[in-house]
Amino acid sequence: MDEFEQELARMMRDTQVHIPFGPEHHARLQSLLRARRRTRAALMAGGSLLLIAGVCVGLPVAFSQGHHSTGPASTSTSTPTSDPTADPTSNPTSDPTSDPTAGATADPTGIRTGTLPPGGTPGAPAGTSGAHGGSAPTGTTGPTSSTTSDGNHVQGTAPTYVPTTSPSWIPAADPTHVPTTTPTWIPTATPTPLRTP
């Protein structure tokens, strides 16, 4: 430290005059402290209000989203490529009058309860064998059709079964979806029987 630096340090120290912490300083500091406390309290209150408002808005939204979480999944599986009722004459064998045995094997409501054989090919439905006294089921010879009670035309080769378990053709994204009503789009969802004569 050279002479100038020593002189500089001395000047800085010697020029300090004693200024007491007077009442005006005290009053100003106290007023600033009060203002700071008020600001903090206001911020805390505002934050609490925002939190409460967020909870009030967010909880119903969260509940509604949780409620609708199973809804869109069922619609995702019901994407039929074509409605069987839209063009009932597309398949000439689907005429209800062409196969009289079809009406005998179907229940009055047009809904058969049963399980689809593995592979998805409707071979010999169990319900048809009993109805004809153990004879060969007529349904195995070709696609049959039936008409539901509400007039909807349902192709017979893929009987309007109600699956009791989750079938393999339901996308894996919705494993919990079990249709409880007879979907009219089932025949188009199982296209393989239509190709097999």
Partner: protein
């Protein structure tokens, strides 16, 4: 709790007000009003942190607040004038007049420095801190603190020498 906090805090402020005010005044280049604002702002922040720093080093904490706030406030473009009913302090005696004159010279020279150079010089020569401590307070590397101090001293040397030279 608030009462105990206020007690310790008030004692500290009363005991150290004068030195802290002088430090703030040097840091602001002699601006008394800015120095008081700076000190009040620093004391507010110290009050918030008082339970944490009261038993350790409250003055070091406040010094750091003052240095950084002074550098920040120096970046503001304009400091508004404030009307006051008090006249500037006047010299009551010859010694006091000499002190005031010397202080005016010093503060005028300090006011020429950039804020960071001024802070480095004040911390190094008024607070008598080592370079590492200056760097820590200013939040910069030691080399930067050393450079700021050296440049500040060189500029002060030039300014104070020019003032000392007699007019020809």
């Amino acid at each position: 709790m608030r009462q105990s906090r206020a007690d310790g805090f008030d004692e500290f402020v009363e005991a150290r007000w004068s030195a802290l005010f002088h430090l703030a005044r040097l840091l602001t280049g002699g601006d008394r009003h800015r120095a008081e604002d700076l000190l009040q702002e620093g004391l507010l922040k110290l009050w918030s942190a008082w339970p944490r720093v009261a038993d350790e080093a409250p003055e070091a904490y406040l010094r750091q607040i003052l240095v950084r706030a002074a550098a920040r406030s120096a970046r503001r473009r304009w400091w508004g004038e404030r009307p006051t009913g008090e006249l500037p302090e006047t010299a009551g005696s010859q010694d006091l007049a000499a002190v005031v004159e010397e202080r005016t010279r010093l503060e005028s020279a300090l006011a020429l420095l950039p804020a960071r150079q001024r802070a480095a010089v004040v911390l190094r020569y008024y607070q008598d801190l080592p370079e590492a401590q200056v760097a820590k307070v200013m939040g910069c590397p030691v080399g930067t603190a050393r450079s700021l101090t050296a440049r500040g001293v060189a500029r002060l040397r030039e300014a104070l020498t020019e003032v000392d030279e007699p007019v020809r």
